[in-house]
């Protein structure tokens, strides 16, 4: 017996929505999905008429769907936005070079301008070279920290007003869990925000239009829309600890599908006790980027790479910041601790 679409009650349903459990036909699902993203954009007032918006594009499913939906909505609801694609080339052979090909195809399909910034031109290091020095452990720290800054630098080159990223509901929920497991109260409070407030020079406000979209629905959308996207895991193994949070979230979702939204709801309603010490946002005294320490994480990591002490930025070594700033050499004991360990 064919199931009818619960929305139009006319056509045959082709999918069951992971988010609500309703059976929908293809058109009604597209409409619902796009409409939800629109509602999110409108309710959170993510954009203003006439703004230039950079879409952080990796070539993966989230950013491909984001670029598609943004283009559709911009035309349908006359947002009056000028959209651009912004990609970061981390320099990972066999992974990013392939996915960037997808982005280039997207650029042609969606007729959007594309800017690619690479780690090599910004930092003088590709991820391949970094992994060669630090090994497969902790390399995600470098990639993550550098990417955050690279996106901002790219956005400034493109002169965009805002960046939107493809973070979906699963990503946000996973980050909430992750920050609880790490006891990181400052990030726990920040991570559910749909957009960052402008934090100063050199930082472009960011937002997550897909914040309430389930990962599974994004895949469904891409699948039925036959969108072209790249789906390969990064060759430099995913972060092990985040993997635990991810598996846990998927298990939660299988027990109760609303769990993802429930976790986000929890995250949005947490409140921090008065008097809990929070990091104060300042600027890096070397590059001027936002930082809660004397030196931003990216400068510390880079310093570590350039000095041949890759562990400098891993873990907490705030006490060494003064030494780095004044270009003093480290003691032998300090150096020994920070050299890469061979396993």
């Amino acid at each position: 017996m064919p199931v009818l679409c619960s929305s139009c009650a006319d056509k045959r349903a082709v999918l069951k929505r992971p988010k609500t459990g309703h059976s929908l036909c293809k058109e009604c699902f597209f409409w619902a999905f796009e409409e939800e993203v629109h509602q999110t954009i409108v309710a959170a007032q993510l954009f203003k008429h006439g703004e230039t918006v950079g879409i952080a594009a990796s070539g993966g499913k989230d950013s491909t769907v984001l670029a598609h939906v943004m283009k559709v909505l911009n035309e349908r609801y006359n947002y009056g936005l000028e959209l651009m694609l912004l990609s970061v080339d981390e320099g990972i052979t066999g992974y990013r070079d392939d996915s960037l090909e997808t982005v280039k195809r997207n650029q042609q399909q969606y007729e959007l301008p594309l800017k690619i910034v690479s780690y090599e031109e910004l930092y003088g290091w590709t991820m391949d070279a970094i992994v060669k020095q630090v090994g497969l452990k902790n390399n995600c720290t470098f990639c993550g920290v550098f990417r955050r800054q690279a996106l901002d630098r790219g956005a400034i080159m493109l002169k965009v007003d805002k960046i939107c990223t493809g973070h979906n509901a699963d990503d946000v929920a996973e980050t909430v869990l992750m920050n609880v497991l790490r006891g990181d109260i400052a990030r726990l409070r920040r991570c559910t925000a749909i957009s960052t407030t402008s934090e100063g020079d050199g930082v472009v406000p960011r937002c997550k239009p897909l914040k309430y979209a389930y990962e599974k629905e994004i895949v469904l959308y891409a699948y039925f829309k036959k969108l072209d996207y790249f789906s390969t895991e990064c060759i430099y193994s995913p972060n092990a600890y985040r993997g635990h949070a991810r598996t846990f979230l998927k298990d939660l979702e299988s027990v109760r599908p609303s769990s993802i939204m429930d976790v986000i709801h929890s995250g949005e309603n947490l409140s921090v006790r008065e008097g809990v010490k929070m990091p104060v946002q300042g600027t890096c005294s070397r590059c001027g980027y936002i930082s809660s320490q004397a030196l931003c994480k990216s400068c510390v990591l880079l310093e570590g790479l350039n000095r041949g002490l890759p562990k400098l930025g891993i873990g907490k070594h705030h006490r060494l910041h003064d030494k780095i700033l004044s270009q003093q050499p480290l003691t032998e004991k300090e150096e020994r601790k920070l050299k890469s360990v061979d396993f």
């Binding site: 619960s6 409409e35 509602q39 939660l252 027990v255 429930d262 949005e268 006790r273």
Partner: protein
């Protein structure tokens, strides 16, 4: 990238493998017999002192239990609550300086009906608990969960707290108490006489009541919701017992490991706003009865070691979640996740637990507000104010959109970016167009359900809505809940009628 990971790395490098001949870190003389954490090895005597001190320190630090106050200890028979009981006994037998100065009583809730246990099993368990409690000399109350059906709606109403006692009053009260030395120590027979009714014989269980409870449990479709519901009912019964027997504090035996699981599962259940109340040291959501968790600094490992070494008896009684699969419920899944992660990363539990200490209740100011602002089931402040761009609102929109007909392309275009205008259209389509919804046979709000349920939903917090959603019918809920729901709905209807004449909100 991950801090926990790195911290753990550091520890690994520094700690040596503890050997049997290791000395106690405290007295540095005797041979250690127990390793609490990596590197912390204690001898028997020092461990005992450490354990006992921690209990008194927890109560002393928080200054919540005043001298001479009646405190009800909720004991389930498990290691943690039994350990708490033994600590209270220990504290009362100390010399005057270190002595605990409150008057304890014990309550055991027999949940056999919800867990589907046989009458004989329940009687055996009850008798075991009786023996255990009699040995303490404290008054005790054995309460079958069935009694929840006889509660009055007033249990769901926050009672006014006696009077705010400032921290400075604590010391004065202690001094005064030591000086007066009234009728201390309280002899068990001095206590009120009504207690013996409870403990003279095992309470009778009405079979019809058992059936009603079982109906309620089986009308709840998921184990997750069943566990949530059971914990609400248990909590109501505990508060009721405390109120009727004249206690002003309720002590729960939640240990650190338990609370870490509870915190994470609360997050997964959407109880973020209530986290601080659910897992903090004290919880004043009931107003007059304050819940305290003095065991929250102990890990389950410490407790089990202590119980084993100092022969603290505990009784295993199978509950609702005993022998269920990891994925049977959110709570159970979280428990197995935390336990497994703890095995690989020993700082997991303490990190999660420390997170809980940094949180507070989001809606602190609403304590004095109208009762309508608290959840009917968990009595926490409601967290369902519809805000623009929230997970709650996004879910409502998704549900509406999946059930309404997409407008023709031309009418779908809403060219202005005015927030709310597009939204209002969709909301209108769902809730006003009853005729349209009726045709689909689905009812307009998410699933076919009697109007009562929808009414009840507005009285619940986000998480309790999810629980009720998993019930096939709310009619099986105990009468006191339904009555209170009706009362609150009538109140809010009244308020709507006269709203334009009310000057101050929250009156």
């Amino acid at each position: 990238m991950c801090q926990v990971d790195e911290d753990f790395q550091g520890q690994l490098e520094h700690t040596e493998v503890p050997s049997i001949s290791k000395k106690c870190v405290k007295c540095k003389e005797k041979t250690a017999v127990v390793v609490i954490r990596a590197g912390d090895t204690y001898c028997r005597d020092c461990f005992r002192e450490y354990f006992i001190h921690k209990f008194r320190a927890m109560l002393g630090k928080n200054r919540i239990i005043f001298p001479g106050e009646k405190v009800l200890l909720a004991v389930s028979g498990g290691p943690s609550s039994c350990s708490m009981l033994s600590q209270v006994q220990e504290g009362l037998s100390q010399n005057a300086h270190k002595k605990l100065r409150f008057i304890p009583g014990i309550v055991y809730i027999d949940e056999g009906a919800a867990a589907g246990r046989s009458v004989d099993d329940r009687k055996t368990a009850m008798a075991q608990m009786q023996t255990l409690f009699e040995a303490t000399g404290f008054p005790f109350h054995l309460v079958p969960l069935e009694q929840v059906l006889d509660l009055s709606p007033s249990v769901l109403v926050m009672a006014p707290s006696p009077s705010e006692q400032p921290g400075s009053a604590y010391k004065a009260a202690v001094d005064q108490f030591i000086q007066s030395k009234g009728h201390w120590p309280p002899r068990p027979q001095d206590q009120d006489q009504d207690q013996d009714l409870d403990q003279a014989s095992l309470p009778d269980i009405q079979e019809s009541h058992t059936q009603l409870l079982q109906q309620l449990m089986s009308s709840t479709k998921t184990q997750t919701a069943r566990e949530e519901l059971l914990s609400m009912l248990r909590q109501h019964l505990l508060v009721h017992t405390a109120r009727t027997k004249g206690y002003s504090k309720l002590m729960l035996g939640d240990c650190c490991s338990r609370l870490a699981v509870k915190l994470l599962s609360s997050i997964a259940l959407g109880r973020g706003a209530q986290l601080a109340q659910d897992t903090g040291f004290s919880d004043s959501r009931y107003g007059d009865i304050i819940t305290v968790r003095p065991m929250r600094d102990y890990s389950s490992k410490e407790i089990v070691f202590y119980n084993h070494m100092f022969k603290v008896p505990s009784i295993f009684i199978p509950g609702l979640d005993t022998m269920t699969a990891d994925k049977s419920s959110i709570q159970r899944l979280t428990e197995s996740f935390v336990t497994k992660l703890q095995a690989d990363f020993p700082s997991t539990v303490s990190t999660i637990y420390r997170t809980s200490e940094k949180l507070q209740t989001a809606w602190k100011g609403s304590c004095a507000a109208d009762v309508c602002d608290t959840c009917l089931l968990c009595l926490c402040a409601l967290d369902t104010t519809v805000e623009n761009a929230s997970a709650f609102q996004a879910t409502l929109i998704s549900e509406q959109l999946s059930q309404t007909k997409p407008p023709e392309t031309s009418s779908a275009i809403n060219p202005n970016l005015n927030p709310g205008s597009a939204l209002a259209t969709t909301t209108g389509q769902c809730c006003s167009g009853e005729g349209e919804c009726g045709k689909k046979g689905g009812g307009c709000c998410s699933s076919p359900r009697v109007p009562e349920t929808t009414d009840m939903r507005s009285l619940l917090c986000y998480s309790c809505r999810q629980t009720v959603k998993d019930m096939s019918s709310v009619d099986h809920l105990p009468a006191y809940i339904l009555l209170e729901a009706q009362r609150r709905n009538r109140r809010s209807q009244m308020r709507e009628q006269i709203s334009e004449f009310i000057l101050d909100e929250g009156v």
